[in-house]
Symmetry: C2
């Protein structure tokens, strides 16, 4: 059973929990406009209108245009791949009638982009096929189901996520050995891209902004590209980075201090901030277990860092990671209006989240980001977290 076959079995298993009798992903010309759910279903793209059906009775059926069917069949994910030549309706409607579902989940969501892949034109097409049948009134949002399916990683997905994270950690380590005072953010960016390409991987998000780099206090903060700032003794370096390999992403931040000539370690203030960030992340991690609500985890770290006398971070503590670096669904979001319903999701075993925040300092941005897996009774780090500040020394 490969990772897609495992996911397909999970999809069938989850239908009952969300009271869906049938789940339909309905797409076309996915090279031009895809549904974010498609990446969960298989490594194929389709040209003609295609329906992927998962039924509560265990049936997994793909209905696709002649020409698209072979690539789908090749993956052995679906029990049946049924090609059509004239109209998908001729095949789809009889199958829906045969399965006779009360609640048909389709991919739309007012609040979660990753569960909102059905376009309005395709919704109208689907509705027109069902016109005059009882099923026209039975289409419901599959958003909660999709969030669970995407969020609860299977064993093989976890293995792939660990492998991606491990590769990123290797690159962090190699980088650590290579870094020298005087190197610019742009040079680090290019070096990292070479290492990623040499491993046959991609960056977890768009290459212009991955890795995100902050060398010293003058580097612009936020999702901006690498600047011309250089590593200077007495400053910190922060790097936000992940690799995508075999379809799965990692996402971590690491932080270094550039020693001045004669210095053996960082100034007290740098260490104090680093420790506060590290311990805030640890406190939040210790709070994580199945059943807690997203915003509660954010609140632990937020209270920790403000109690320590620092400014609160202007973003969420963590997000889901998976086939996307930002994998949709719930996460450790504060209850701010702009996050909509995201802060209110319940955490489940099998979820993978980041824990990330930092503090702006006169030395630069000091920030960490770790990935955790939620387990039955708590959490596990995906990779060993950064527990000590790393140092950059001059070779001379």
């Amino acid at each position: 059973m490969n990772v897609y076959q495992e996911k397909a079995a999970q999809a069938v298993d989850l239908l009952a929990e969300f009271d869906l009798d049938l789940w339909i992903t309905f797409v076309r010309e996915t090279a031009e406009h895809t549904d974010p759910v498609l990446k969960l279903l298989g490594p194929f793209s389709v040209t003609w209108p295609t329906a992927f059906l998962f039924a509560r009775n265990g049936e997994k059926i793909a209905i696709s245009g002649k020409g698209d069917d072979e690539a789908i069949r090749h993956e052995e994910i679906f029990d049946e791949v049924i090609p059509y030549t004239q109209s998908i309706k001729d095949v789809l409607l009889p199958h829906i009638q045969r399965l006779d579902p009360q609640r048909i989940g389709v991919n739309f969501s007012r609040s979660d982009v990753s569960a909102d892949g059905l376009t309005y034109g395709m919704f109208l097409n689907l509705q027109s096929y069902l016109e005059g049948t009882a099923y026209a009134q039975r289409l419901v949002s599959a958003e909660d189901f999709i969030e669970a399916l995407r969020g609860r990683k299977t064993p093989q997905e976890l293995a792939l996520m660990r492998a991606a994270s491990e590769m990123a950690m290797e690159i962090f380590d190699e980088l650590s050995a290579w870094l020298q005072p005087g190197v610019s953010e742009k040079e680090i960016h290019a070096w990292v891209h070479e290492k990623v390409a040499a491993r046959g991987a991609e960056t977890s998000w768009d290459p212009g902004h991955c890795p995100g780099l902050n060398a010293g206090p003058n580097s612009p903060w936020g999702h901006v590209g690498a600047s011309d700032e250089r590593l200077q003794p007495g400053n910190t370096l922060n790097m936000d980075f992940g690799v995508k390999i075999n379809g799965f992403c990692s996402d971590n931040q690491r932080v270094w201090y550039v020693l001045k000539p004669g210095e053996a370690e960082a100034p007290e203030e740098v260490k104090t901030i680093f420790n506060a960030v590290r311990d805030g992340i640890q406190a939040a991690a210790d709070f994580v277990r199945p059943g807690v609500v997203g915003w509660e985890v954010d609140a632990v770290a937020r209270k920790f860092i403000t109690d320590a006398g620092y400014e609160e971070y202007p973003h969420a503590l963590g997000h889901s990671v998976g086939r996307y670096a930002h994998d949709g669904g719930t996460g450790f979001y504060p209850r701010w209006e702009r996050y909509g319903t995201k802060p209110y999701g319940t955490i489940h075993a099998g979820n993978v989240f980041t824990l990330e925040f930092g503090v702006q300092s006169p030395f630069g941005y000091i920030s960490l980001e770790e990935e955790i897996l939620v387990t039955e009774d708590g959490y596990e780090w995906i990779s060993p977290p950064q527990k000590e500040l790393m140092y950059i020394r001059s070779d001379a």
Copy 2:
């Protein structure tokens, strides 16, 4: 005026032709799920729900979440970029009321994926903002408008398309000089990718399938990757390839014959087929002018090649090219059910289409693909078409 500013001016100009008073593109988290229209509007992505408004009175307004607004404003495409913090409705609804449109075009289409970027969840959100106002009943499909906007290239878009095509032609020429008997499709694929990367370009479609290669009669036809087949004397090589640079794609096919020792030119049968393909494309090009309907152009080439005694090609003669290699909208499609309404569109000046078809032969697949611009009184080639078979000789 840059290419996006030029396109924005064109959008305003086109509203009257399609009887729209307002056009709204409504998107969110476009890094995860974009609207294909967004690429026409500007080189930005957005996180928060964002509305791009083009009004018949000439106003161009972007309403975006605080944090997304700066990148949009930076491009100087919109007269006004209005940030919101709480809800987009608070800003969007008053602007709709002020503009008081009778017909509001939004991005949905039952038949054209490139005009169907509005998700059903976002449609529901938009509709809920308008609830209780007259505007809730005034949302209409902008598909014809979008097809025209996408299809009618502006002067700067054409300059960028010509530059992409020219780069591809250079690579075809370099390849021609490098090709040798014994080289495999996979080696050609790698060589081409090196040349594309060295120019800072990308391939026009997914790199695994671009270039598409067919060396000899045993290479599998269709959208499959490069095989282990090698160039053999007495066979042909066909390559389907395009580069994407500065946001615009090219798409061409070229064909070679591998000379046997002692041969000065290809066998008569190869030349006869090549000439039939070349002349069929020329006949179709000669038929092209504004006002003809897509399928009529396809029919010219289809009749030409079947009259010449060859099998008809199992696909359309041509598609629109632009920011995507398959740029949506009408094209030279046969009136087959599976092409829906696409064959029935009227050709306009400023459109860019491919003309492409081939013949399977005992020597290999012999096929050409050229790009034409529709002009006021006919057509122009985007790059010089292939008029003679090219030859691959052994250096030895």
